[in-house]
Symmetry: C2
Subunit: 339 residues, 2 copies
């Protein structure tokens, strides 16, 4: 279609208006939930240094990879990992389908609802619960179960769904990096299939950019000859500690330029990121805000925690190696979008 002169004039006026509106306006703060301080400045300087074409530390768009731990780095992980809560909540449905498990441990304890007893289940018991609730079903069935749970399950402290408990400052970092050509990835010890269900709507991160602990699937056909995949208990990637850089290599194949974590499980990912040539950014969130969220370490004298432990040695390493420690209490103006 050949545009009329009137059409062209209309385009010109629109352009003029668009230009005029931005004249004199202060550039919008990309990180409004962050206090002005060293952490915020480090993020902004990193983006500026790696995306300004004349910068000596310029990184071509294809190599702009940023990786984020999820539990405790993007959303609340206390008092227990949300995915573990999902698994416990699924036990009644699993036992309905497999009644032979009703009087067998650890399922009996989970069905009793005794939170103190559940909290004392052994690692082996937890593995049995994870296997029974995360494997053995078609991929689509699992995705639909998770979707349903996310829509209804509530966090005991805030009485809000888990997907509402993402950290607003980190959502801003995700968006800011993407607006500057970075591909943002989740690299989580949590289940890859679990996180993929909501990462796109909650974080703007598509399934193919979620790296997590992953089991195998098996390809087969249903009674109508239609192919489908079943989730298997065979572990392919334990995406924690050394498994994080190994998972990054497997799933991304490039070393990140920026990485964000919050616990000892993120140490190797931060080391691997920092060791690359050129400008790199390594950040680690310290949960030191019991009033607005939680306080746990044991770094810096904070209470120890089985969930998301942040040892003093990692804190010391961060200071020594120039990683940025983010204090939730001092660096974040606002923690949740609903505040």
């Amino acid at each position: 279609m050949k545009p009329t002169l009137g059409g062209v004039r209309h385009i010109a006026v629109s352009l003029l208006l668009a230009f005029s509106c931005s004249v004199g306006a202060k550039p919008a703060d990309p990180l409004p939930s962050w206090q002005d301080g060293a952490a915020k400045q480090a993020i902004i300087e990193f983006v500026h240094a790696t995306t300004t074409p004349t910068s000596k530390q310029y990184v071509p768009p294809a190599e702009r990879i940023a990786t984020f731990d999820q539990d405790g780095a993007l959303w609340v992980e206390q008092p227990i990992y949300p995915q573990l809560e999902y698994c416990l909540d699924r036990v009644p449905a699993v036992v309905r389908d497999r009644p032979e498990l009703r009087d067998v441990e650890p399922f009996k304890t989970v069905l009793s609802g005794d939170r103190a007893a559940i909290a004392h289940l052994s690692q082996d018991d937890l593995v049995k619960i994870l296997e029974a609730t995360l494997t053995g079903m078609p991929v689509e069935q699992f995705q639909s179960d998770v979707r349903q749970w996310l829509a209804t399950a509530k966090h005991p402290r805030w009485n809000r769904t888990y997907v509402e408990l993402t950290y607003q400052p980190m959502q801003e970092v995700l968006r800011y990096l993407r607006a500057n050509g970075y591909k943002t990835y989740i690299v989580t010890g949590g289940g890859q299939d679990f996180v993929r269900v909501y990462a796109e709507t909650v974080y703007g991160i598509p399934p193919e950019q979620v790296v997590g602990t992953a089991g195998g699937t098996s390809f087969g056909y249903d009674q109508d000859g239609k192919p489908f995949l079943t989730k298997e208990p065979r572990l392919l990637l334990n995406d924690d500690k050394a498994g994080k850089p190994e998972g990054i290599h497997l799933m991304i194949g490039r070393r990140p330029h920026a990485a964000f974590g919050n616990s000892g499980g993120d140490r190797q990912m931060l080391e691997y990121t920092s060791a690359g040539a050129g400008r790199r950014l390594a950040m680690i969130v310290l949960h030191d805000d019991a009033r607005r969220e939680y306080a746990y370490g044991p770094a810096q004298g904070l209470p120890a925690s089985h969930v998301g432990a942040f040892p003093q040695a990692i804190y010391d390493q961060a200071i020594r190696d120039g990683w940025i420690v983010v204090s939730m209490k001092n660096d974040w103006k606002r923690i949740f979008a609903f505040e």
Copy 2:
């Protein structure tokens, strides 16, 4: 900057010119190396149906995933897979580093240079060669070895480097799909780390969009405390046959809307792709052109081949299920860019 009225007029004129130039011009053919025919038409209709917003078969950009086998679908796989040639060529260097292998089979046979004897090595022998040449070294060392080999090794028939032997018609399909918002992936039985070395420059496909047979790596530190990854013989994903949809789930997490293969190893990927809801495209290349490339089946009475076998049963399934069989001889005007 507030643009002057003159500036706006300039923009308006530029727009007008841009519009005018396209008026009456025939749109460029996106697939010039394809003969006009059913295969070419199927690709163009698929793209039109899935990317036109008013189409009932419209696919949102985030879900536009297309997967391509590599060997025999994107580049020449005869007389032996290029990666296997790489492994054989690497044996002398491996034996230099590990002299104890010199008089041990299968390395002794490979060092003899006797092609007939090499062609008769058993599957177990090949596995030993793959292990010795593809694992045990730091990831960066491997990448650099592959890069060097690709720059110098020549295909015996054309006396050209392997990366020159990609199929021009398929390069056009890759570009055409990407120009229409599709993310293009390689899903290959070949080594993920091997293909990632050249996929970006050769096919425009970045490392994170290469899914292939993958082994584990192990994270460690060098003598200076610098972290690095070593390639391990532990197989994580055998990305062939049923392993292709399993690999797609592991690495992408979405079902492709289009898939391209050329052998029995691609059957499950094509089935999995076709079984999705909405419009899907499944294509399979038949090598029936001994003059310009190779002719092998055994489908349609073509000579049988150990490399990239295309059984008659897959041909029949393609016809029955509406997959498009691409005849290299009849559908491709040109095979290589250098022609």
